[in-house]
Symmetry: C2
Subunit: 119 residues, 2 copies
DNA sequence: TTGACAGTTGAGTATGTGTTCATATATAAT
DNA sequence: ATTATATATGAACACATACTCAACTGTCAA
């Protein structure tokens, strides 16, 4: 217990780097939110939905047609996106129009596309 | 088969929007790459690793200590990050130093943090 | 050569997740 | 009221994935 105040099975190789980095790490909550956000975008169906909604607000049927998928599946994914605050909707009669909730989503696409084009 | 040339069980509500959006959609490969990239970043362990490597290049033991996790687990995740081209490494004796492979990763963090702070 | 150590890797397991199916809700039209 | 339609939702299934454990490779030191 003299030199191992860390909760893992490793020796500390570069103790100064480890200590400094530990001190600079944001709190768990920040990482959690960050990862959750990217995880939502990191699904091919949802990324397609977001791309479509970046062009037009659309109802569930429209999106299902654009992606060639079932309404149920799209509705589930829209629920996920809505609960994550990435998408919002307005109801008009029987139809529900979905749109992007956040202007950052466009920026997310740009960064991502820039990355994959850079490779 | 007269009005349903789409591969799903829905009626087309706004056919013009659907057709236009379909025409503007990038190819499957682009979406696939885009989603894959965000999926990799969208894990709390990997996002922590990337944040740490954004500050210093580090060996596996260092990262394991910073995150308080096992070397094996970190090594697995570093393999994933390396195979995705997000991280690269250099070997020095027994140690393997990992670093960010891509200058866009910093930008990804910025966009993500901006998003979660905006909420 | 032998032992110690940094790191990798495959198998196993537990958990998470995306889609489908069936059903429910809500609104509009007849 | 009844029917049709647009969407939502819970359960179930199939598949993916993050961690652990054990075994392995490669490098350094004695």
């Amino acid at each position: 217990m003299s030199k191992n105040e860390f909760v893992c099975d490793c020796n500390v190789i570069h103790e100064d780097v480890v200590t400094n980095t530990k001190n600079n790490m944001p709190e768990e909550y920040t990482f959690s939110k960050l990862a959750e956000f990217f995880k939502i975008v990191g699904d091919i169906t949802r990324v397609k939905i977001l791309f479509a909604l970046d062009q037009n607000e659309m109802c569930v049927c429209d999106i299902a047609n654009v992606l060639g998928m079932s309404k149920s599946s799209i509705s589930h994914q829209l629920g996920t996106l809505r609960r994550s605050g990435i998408v919002k909707c307005r109801k008009v009669g029987k139809e529900v129009f979905y749109m992007l909730d956040d202007e950052h989503v466009k920026q997310v696409f740009e960064v991502g596309i820039e990355h994959i084009e850079h490779k």
